[in-house]
């Protein structure tokens, strides 16, 4: 099936842009523009100046990189009232990728935060007063040919027209932003290379350049292609995981009948190309299947303008272009431009404060969408630096989702070769990267692999998705890509059944594990401040708690074990390794008697899940594991088989009965072997994360990173029972939560059970599907799974009532209970039953206090 997108655009007059932007009334009236460049004219003349203006000896912020990203950050910081901003550029402004890139601002992006950024960029570049929503419309084919005179429509079945997309001249936008920033007092120095970033006690203190040092509080790395190396060039090395790839586009001479500048940009995803009008001809590039990584060895080619053209490499894209627009055959070639772009390991940009170094911010790795993102990303980063966090959830872009482990050049080189083609691939659900794998593994990896494990990767760690029974095999990788019922359906079903009826082992070693200890009660004090739940519990107790920010939003969702009086074992999601560490470090007092250690690598975690788990463990330890002797949410150090000192915890991450075993890694194989051999008579088998996911979603368990984010509070997801409102401990976020409790929540996490959905024939929900209530859009799903128990699909997601007077309305029980809910899967709406807590029958084995799950705020109103 061929599908093409026709994106309309309005070309902006380059001449108009600087004027528009420099007259934007965003700064306080009366502030006299000062600094080196205050007008476009001076900007132009400054370039010719042979005597460079001396650098200031100190500044508040130093931004490295004079491309569109750096100038956007400078512009937005200045807009937010920052002063003493210095922007340094090693060559000339916009001389890197910005100068060469194709100039398309497309607002259709895979995830919503990216759409928001592109949307903002678009309106910024056009200088519209308000941000506009993305207008999309399905177009019939005859309309496509009307919109674009050259498109061959014979093999198309449909097209998507985005009138909001725009085409701009990147150097002009760059110039305009620089001029506007200069107008705000930003000092811009070209031909100044940052050699080294100085730090003291984890804070940025100064920047050393080839023209002298500048003392500063903040440093922003916007060095694009060179951001990785710049990160390495600091006292504490900063990991900026990105890697360059060559990117080619073609410029043609004008057509006999020149193409109008207003002609829409065409993106042909199957042909992997984009085409826009350019000076009466076309500009066309693409994202090929076999990218050419570049600059792996580092900064050996400063002059990226002298890149080689490679026609043989461009051949598939040229053929795709001529297939889509056959009339271009007679058009003459002007030039093939090689414009390197930088890519990241997961196709999302890198933004935010680096872990471990205060005041060191990064904005780079734009994955060939620099122009589209620069405006919005610059705004978010400026907000981040100003308020401590942006006004939207940028976790998918947060540089803290990566650590040093993603900084290997070999890893980056291999991964970006996989990432770049994905830009124009169909994004299928549950995509696993194929490159850069088997980096972090459990000691049981080989053992599980030979038993048929199929693997996924999280934060570099291999985790089993499911286990293929001997003699069976799945489809090939390509054939298994589907939005419908996947080929692993029955396999996961069998694992779920075993978890429900017997016992399963899941290797969950990837979890982030910290140990916080102190000589006195400093550890408890810190955790009481950071955690919403009460941690002053007897030794051996396990507490599920969120770590909230000032707004009351989840920075982390974890389980904390009080191992000793002043020693806590903190278990967090896998991808929290860098983020949680940096969150704890940020709030830790400078006390040598308080010690935080990352022990993730020291323990192998096995989850014994199912009603017979206690029988297996009982046999291995000669200790009764029944709920009477080992109640829920307890932790004991005990022996399992020959191995002593195993931390056994009566909890699972799915709500099923069972135990987590935290095993020092050298015992891992022994304990696993013992568990499997004793478990045989109880029908034990391996299970993977897909079974886990199905179990936790049908039990309405929210996961951080999927359902929970820094803008979600415990009240919004029915976890008030995990907040210590009944104490007067002033934990982080308490005030916001109290306020929210008073006002009522304006969005609520609910569970939707799909009805009239044919698992075999209908498209499956995955996440991000719109939720409708009584026909009105009221939210989106955040995760979903097939529940083998309910034999239905279960979606989790947030809904909010429509706002009547502009201010957010509070969620009422009626809003949830008395509405007709529908989930929209690819244009087809399925009725769904909305629920605030899971089916109690699912808890037959392990009853929980039901009132805990109730929403007290509902009862209070």
């Amino acid at each position: 099936m061929h599908c093409s997108c026709v994106w309309s655009s309005r070309a902006l007059s380059p001449a108009l842009l600087p004027r528009l932007l420099s007259h934007a009334g965003c700064w306080a009236p009366g502030t006299k523009p000062r600094g080196i460049w205050s007008s476009p004219r001076r900007l132009a003349s400054a370039v010719e100046t042979t005597q460079p203006i001396p650098l200031p000896s100190q500044a508040r912020v130093v931004i490295c990189g004079g491309g569109i990203v750096g100038t956007s950050v400078a512009y937005h910081l200045a807009k937010l009232g920052w002063t003493e901003i210095v922007l340094l550029e090693q060559g000339r402004l916009g001389a890197g990728t910005t100068r060469l890139c194709a100039g398309i601002v497309s607002v259709a992006k895979p995830i919503s935060i990216e759409c928001k950024m592109a949307d903002y960029s678009n309106s910024l570049y056009e200088h519209l007063e308000e941000e506009t929503g993305v207008k999309t419309a399905q177009y019939s084919l005859s309309e496509v040919s009307k919109l674009h005179p050259l498109v061959n429509i014979h093999d198309l079945v449909g097209a998507l027209h985005l009138p909001g997309d725009a085409v701009v001249s990147p150097p002009d936008v760059n110039h305009a932003l620089a001029t506007a920033a200069a107008g705000h007092g930003v000092q811009i120095h070209e031909r100044t290379t940052v050699n080294h970033v100085m730090m003291e006690k984890g804070h940025v203190t100064a920047v050393e350049t080839d023209r002298g040092a500048i003392e500063c509080e903040y440093f922003v790395n916007c060095a694009g292609q060179w951001a990785y190396e710049l990160g390495q060039a600091s006292e504490t090395k900063v990991s900026v995981p990105l890697h360059g790839c060559e990117h080619f586009y073609l410029l043609s001479k004008p057509l006999p009948e020149p193409l109008q500048p207003s002609t829409p940009v065409v993106m042909d995803m199957d042909g992997r190309i984009y085409v826009r009008a350019w000076q009466g001809g076309v500009l066309s590039g693409g994202f090929e299947k076999n990218p050419k990584p570049i600059f792996t060895e580092g900064r050996n080619q400063l002059e990226i303008q002298t890149m080689q053209e490679d026609w043989d490499h461009f051949e598939p894209m040229l053929s795709a272009l001529l297939r889509r627009m056959p009339e271009l055959e007679v058009c003459e070639i002007q030039q093939l431009v090689n414009c390197p772009e930088s890519f990241t390991p997961d196709m999302r940009c890198l933004m935010g404060e680096t872990p471990g170094v205060h005041g060191y911010f990064v904005l780079a790795g734009m994955n060939a969408s620099g122009l589209a993102f620069a405006g919005g990303a610059g705004k978010y980063l400026a907000e981040w630096m100003t308020y401590g966090y942006p006004t939207a959830n940028v976790w998918p872009l947060d540089i803290k989702r990566f650590g040093n482990l993603q900084s290997s050049r070999t890893f980056l080189r291999h991964r970006v070769m996989e990432v770049m083609p994905l830009l124009y691939n169909l994004k299928v659900p549950r995509w696993d990267f194929q490159t850069g794998r088997q980096l972090r593994t459990s000691p049981l990896y080989d053992r599980l692999d030979t038993q048929g494990a199929r693997w996924m990767e999280k934060h570099g760690f291999e985790r089993a998705k499911y286990f293929i029974p001997a003699g069976k095999d799945l489809l090939s990788l390509d054939a298994s890509k589907t939005f419908y019922k996947p080929d692993w359906f029955d396999i996961v079903g069998a694992e779920v059944k075993c978890c429900k009826e017997a016992v399963c082992v899941i290797d969950m070693s990837s979890f982030t594990k910290f140990e916080l200890t102190s000589t006195d009660d400093q550890a408890l004090a810190l955790l009481q401040h950071l955690c919403a739940n009460d941690l002053d519990v007897p030794v051996g107790h396990i507490v599920h708690t969120g770590m909230l920010n000032e707004r009351g939003g989840y920075e982390n969702d974890c389980s904390v074990v009080r191992v000793k009086k002043n020693s806590f074992f903190i278990i967090s999601p896998t991808d929290q390794q860098v983020h949680c560490w940096s969150w704890l470090k940020k709030h830790m007092p400078d006390d040598p008697q308080l010690h935080l250690e990352d022990v993730s690598w020291k323990y192998t975690a096995l989850n014994l899940i199912g009603p017979r788990a206690m029988d297996v463990l009982g046999e291995l330890s000669y200790v009764s594991m029944t709920p009477e002797h080992f109640p829920s949410l307890f932790c004991k150090e005990m022996s399992v088989g020959y191995a002593n000192g195993i931390r056994v915890m009566s909890m699972t991450h799915t709500g099923e009965p069972g135990f987590m075993l935290y095993i020092p890694i050298e015992y891992a194989l022994h304990v696993y072997n013992e568990v499997m051999s004793v478990g045989q008579k109880y029908g034990i088998r391996n299970a993977g994360y897909y079974a886990l996911r199905s179990l936790r979603i049908e039990k309405f368990f929210a996961f951080w990173g999927q359902d929970l984010d820094p803008f979600t509070t415990p009240l919004e997801c029915g976890r008030e029972f995990r907040v210590k409102f009944d104490t007067d401990i002033d934990f982080l976020g308490r005030a916001s939560l109290l306020h929210q409790r008073q006002e009522g929540v304006s969005r609520r996490f609910i569970m939707l059970v799909l009805e009239d959905h044919d698992t075999e024939l209908d498209l499956w929900p995955w996440w991000g599907e719109p939720i409708y209530r009584n026909g009105e859009l009221c939210g989106t799903t955040t995760s979903s799974a097939y529940s083998y128990t309910l034999e239905r699909h279960v979606c989790l997601g947030f809904v909010s009532p429509p706002s009547l007077d502009g201010s957010p309305a509070a969620v009422t029980p009626d809003f949830i209970n008395r509405g007709d809910y529908e989930v929209d899967i690819a244009g087809q709406r399925y009725p769904a039953k909305a629920k605030l807590y899971p089916f109690s029958s699912l808890f037959a084995q392990q009853r929980r206090r039901k009132d805990e799950m109730e929403l007290s705020n509902f009862q209070g109103k």
Binding site: L250, S252, Q308, E309, D310, W311, D312, F314, E315, L318, S319, L321, L322, L328, E329, V330, C331, E332, I333, Q335, L336
Partner: protein
């Protein structure tokens, strides 16, 4: 050029447009050039030097898989087995292939490893006036070489085993394509001749002695040719065999044989086959180093040799129109007793021969100006080359290959195929006026050229694809290939000759090591 179905072949033969290559002009009136005729000793070869390009008469369109199945029908690869994960031989293996133009094909090839002595033997044989002589060479020549190389003691053991009726330990390990056959009926006779040869070798040598490779090759070539001649003179009681030995002797064949033992490469050449070494230069490019001399009119030394072997009165007739006695293109060959025996001997043998021969005007024909036979010899010219690490491969080919591709081009194609590197200049548009359509065409062609290398698993097949399918730009063109390969049998020979190729790849590690060992 449109050739009607019933075109007068005779006329064409006589015309200078299609100069005969190594065809003995038979009597056109009595010889009908159809393959349905009872088998003549001089079959309907129609060799042409300047092959016509792009035949447009019967352009059957072959699909790429059909083309491939034709090209790959005779391909064969041999990889020297590794011991302990290491190949200790200086030869990594070889690829060979042949593409017929004659029906049946007159080229033959052989490859074998010597088991009693060291080394590997590879050879291509280009038959003319039938395939019989080339067939005999392909079966017998390597046994003669192997015998010649054997030390006195081994020969004595062999003789003792035969004498006592004990089984013989094998002498050669053949590496044969299923289409490479042996003439079963003649094996006893061949064996007896061979035994006579080794008995003589025993008599002529003393214990502890063996011939060097140069002498061995020389002796083997000359001995086999004399055996072919002798067997034809003696005849056989079995009329089929009698007929067969005459066919062998009255047809001819050239031979180009390589013997590789460690770093020592010997090439023995008789005729116009050729051995070319592919040498990789320091910059990665390949250059051709020829290890044999062509024995034909283009070789002044050969012309001078032949003229010198005959009285001055024959100076003008012995080489005429670039042919030996105006008839034969190669100046050295096995068989071809018409150029070796006296007129009396030829007549005598034919009269006592089987009836089939009597109808054949061909055999009765005596070359003009035939005064001082023999005019032809099978004595090879022998070249020795000590392999260096930069010597990557050896191409043995019959003249069908060398007529279509220059040796430098051959070495480049094979070298790039084997290294997988296509040394192509990157394209730049510069200031030229190129349209997108033109560029697409150009790129598609470059791509096709690159992908051909992946299509072939056999270097010889890859080379044949180029030899037959190259268009005027030096790129393989499917249309050209399709036309050349779909020619009807009776026309194919006008556009191309049989092509036989063996490409041997050397093991640079072993070659370098042995050299070092040898020099230190």
């Amino acid at each position: 050029c449109n050739l009607p179905q019933s075109f007068p072949l005779a006329k064409l033969w006589g015309s200078s447009l299609f100069p005969c290559q190594r065809q003995l002009p038979c009597c056109p009136t009595s010889h009908r050039p159809t393959s349905s005729q009872p088998h003549p000793i001089w079959p309907t070869a129609m060799p042409v030097r300047g092959y016509r390009r792009s035949p447009d008469l019967h352009s059957y369109n072959l699909t790429p898989p059909q083309v491939n199945s034709i090209l790959k029908a005779n391909e064969y690869s041999f990889k020297v087995p590794e011991f302990d994960g290491k190949n200790v031989s200086s030869v990594m293996g070889f690829d060979s292939n042949q593409l017929p133009a004659n029906a049946p094909i007159e080229d033959r090839r052989s490859a074998a490893t010597c088991l009693q002595t060291r080394g590997m033997l590879l050879g291509v044989f280009d038959g003319h006036a039938g395939c019989a002589c080339a067939q005999a060479l392909s079966e017998r020549l390597f046994y003669y070489v192997a015998m010649s190389l054997m030390p006195h003691e081994t020969l004595c053991e062999l003789e003792a085993a035969v004498e006592a009726g004990r089984p013989l330990s094998p002498i050669l390990q053949w590496h044969k394509h299923p289409n490479d056959y042996f003439t079963r009926e003649a094996q006893t006779m061949y064996f007896n001749s061979l035994r006579t040869y080794w008995q003589e070798l025993i008599d002529l040598s003393s214990p502890g002695e063996s011939l060097g490779p140069r002498e061995a090759l020389l002796s083997a070539f000359k001995r086999l040719d004399s055996d072919l001649s002798l067997e034809a003179q003696v005849g056989d009681a079995n009329s089929f065999l009698h007929y067969w030995v005459l066919r062998v002797a009255f047809s001819g064949a050239t031979a180009c044989v390589a013997h590789i033992d460690g770093s020592d490469l010997y090439v023995a050449n008789t005729g116009d086959g050729r051995a070319v070494l592919g040498v990789q230069e320091e910059d990665g490019s390949f250059s051709a180093h020829t290890l044999s001399n062509d024995h034909n009119a283009q070789n002044e030394n050969e012309v001078a040799r032949i003229q010198g072997e005959h009285p001055p009165s024959e100076k003008k007739t012995v080489v005429r129109q670039d042919r030996l006695l105006g008839l034969l293109m190669p100046f050295r060959a096995f068989g071809d007793v018409k150029f070796k025996w006296s007129i009396d001997l030829q007549r005598g043998v034919l009269e006592s021969g089987p009836d089939q021969l009597h109808d054949n005007e061909h055999t009765k024909f005596i070359p003009p100006n035939y005064h001082t036979p023999p005019y032809l010899t099978a004595e090879p010219e022998i070249t020795h080359h000590r392999l260096r690490p930069q010597d990557r491969f050896l191409v043995l080919g019959t003249d069908g290959l060398w007529e279509t591709l220059h040796r430098q081009e051959v070495v480049r194609i094979v070298g790039e195929y084997l290294t997988g590197v296509h040394q192509r200049q990157p394209l730049t548009v510069g200031g030229y006026h190129v349209t997108l359509g033109q560029m697409q065409g150009l790129l598609a062609e470059r791509k096709a050229r690159a992908s051909l290398a992946f299509q072939d698993q056999n270097a010889a097949t890859h080379l044949i694809r180029h030899a037959v399918g190259n268009n005027e730009f030096g790129a393989v063109d499917h249309e050209t290939l399709s036309k050349m390969l779909s020619l009807p049998e009776e026309l194919a020979r006008m556009y191309r000759d049989d092509i036989t190729i063996i490409i041997t790849q050397f093991n640079p590690h072993v070659v370098g090591h042995q050299r070092q060992g040898g020099e230190s």
